[in-house]
Amino acid sequence: MTVFTEETRERAREIIARYPADRSRSALLPLLHLVQSEEGYVSPAGVEFCAEVLGLNKAQVGAVATFYTMYKRKPTGDYLVSVCTNTMCNVLGGQEVYDTLAEHLGVGHDETTADGKITLEHAECLAACDYGPVMTVNYDFFDNVDPQGALGVVEELRAGGRPMPTRGARLCTLKEMAVQLAGFADERDGAVADGGPGEPTLRGLRLAEQHGISVPGFDPNTPIRSKAEADKAAAEAKAKAEAAKPAPAAEPAKPEAATGSTAPDVKAPDGKSPQVRTAETRQPDAGTAVADAPGTKVPTDTTAPAPRDAQAAEAAGTAANPPAGDGKPAGDEAGAQQRNLKEAEAGAGANGAGPAVASETGVQK
């Protein structure tokens, strides 16, 4: 393992130390960014390095590395140019920008120019629709691009220049960016301060400012009501509502119920349900409290990986995925079906809190 220096190992130890001592696998994504920062892509050596420091096998690391778009599987250029071609940017002209760049550079999606400078890709929504069409270079934004502007940027990059992004920090190379993605600070003087908000970001604020609009009634000293006070208020309200009959004496004696404790609402899973068992198999020591202190488990040299861990993990995986022997599609039991339908009705996108959450109490019914 000659590719990775002692400095990289030191960084790997720092990354692993961010997560609970017995949960080092959480470090896998940042570690993959780290190896990418050395080689410009996740190479077989990079996979091996991650496997070694985490005590996983290469197949486990490879399975993760190939799942995520930002881990590149072949060498990349110094600059990754990503053009958003999702619907909004697309109809606003993003597709022409992409097509123009592809033709000009003579490369297609996920391909690198012969001089090793630029890798081109079309990207999905980059979360800057109010600046569409957008393109990023090493993930910093060039807003409202048109084909000519985009050509200007790539030409400058090929000539050795570093055009300033519209928003975000001054450019660095893709490898340097990967160090930041691994969770390390951008050490370049002033880079964090680069990039003020653009006008679209401030649009509503400017209007409010112009017309002197603010939200009235804000008093930062508003007290936080204590439970006792809340109980009293709730009891009083209840007494008022039930003025006709005497308020049950049990109410004030059970303050938890009066404040609407959520306990009865929690659909706590039955300890014996298959889902729980699955989760417990997946996380065999879930019942044990995690030692809540950061720690490192990275071998300091080329100590052999712990095959035992890998075997255990694989066994857990097998146990968690029993073959469907009943001839029914997985999850086809009536309960799950109904739940899913309810979720479907409740709707909600995949982003953020999932739809199943909404069905937890059926608030959206």
Partner: protein, 438 residues
Amino acid sequence: MTAPRPETLAKLTPVLTKRWLSPDAWRIGTYEKLDGYAALRKALKAHPDDLIQLIKDSGLRGRGGAGFPTGLKWGFIPQGDGKPHYLVVNADEGEPGTCKDLPLMTHDPHSLVEGVIIASYAIRANRAYIYIRGEAVHAARRLRNAVREAYAKGYLGRNIQGTGFDLDLVVHSGAGAYICGEETALLDSLEGFRGQPRLRPPFPATHGLYASPTVVNNVGTIASVPYIVLGGADWWKTMGTEKSSGPMIYSLSGRIANPGQFECSMGITLRELIELAGGMQPGHNLRFWTPGGSSTPLLTAEHLDVPLDFEGVAAAGSILGTTATQIFSDQDCPVYATYRWLEFYHHESCGKCTPCREGNYWMVRVYRRILAGQGTHEDLDTLLDTCDNILGRSFCGLGDGATSSVTSSLKYFKQDYLDYIEGRTAPKLSEKQLVGAH
């Protein structure tokens, strides 16, 4: 393009976005001068249960799309169970059209950090993670800087502000997978696995990160917390509607004169939002729009006066989602727009559930055929049938979201499909682009 009317302007509620006007608000010194960390000091003097009750009283609902009551979610965390608790912030913003969390984290990162500390204190978590979308590099720079500053000032770490409360906060960058915005996929990803959703129950409240009780909240949700702690639940409820309280950041993009972020009282209508955005672009008439990202069914010009809160949009047959209103005009083709979104869902499907993985793959091909002028009438039935077989038949909402634009565009714009099929609209895709689309 006339100026917005005073009654429309009055719906602007700059709360979460307000500090964006101060160019240095991302630095802790400036943040502290602008009420920063005052909420934390106040919260640390209160009992954690009282904070949970405060959030319940405020009626705050999740800003990530589902609108689940935040206080209720916090209350689900079993207390005194001897297990570690976790707070995980979902900062994997990627729903097409959505662009409100990135500016918040870039220009006011400390409000998120402060919210994280208060929320962690309330649910008794000693570790918190912000899972930020990998591509959001500048927001991550500012956020990591904010976390470092907060440690240096004693807002994070051991014995915070002398209260004995410990909290470690890690900013964890993703690596390009839309599915990781789904909370259980996010947790798997954070554990170092492929980001694939888990079957629920059990819910993250009992079996979340590392199979421990976990609250997963969106950026906007957590960033709202300091304001509620300072201003109180009653003040918060002066904004919004009865069941959808507070301000909301509406992200307007597309065929309007001035796209951008507009933080308004919940329940504002699209008509009013377009007014704030300076009207439609010259020569464009509203034809279709998404109320909250591409996973929410399309609405049309008929729906200009639908109140954009959780209940109002649901009553109109769609979902409030992330309040990402993407606005399309009579010069945009709903069939093409839907096709492009499907390409997205096809690419982003994690592959775990067959209906979503295969259904989206095949629907993309049907759309290519239609857009190349080679579609048949049966193709429309095939699309609806495929949607029937995806909706509600996958672990998470990605598959459901994929069907939204298909079924809604077929509902409102069937004629546009027929025009391609019957040769009245010129094909948009060429034979060359059709390779493999059979």
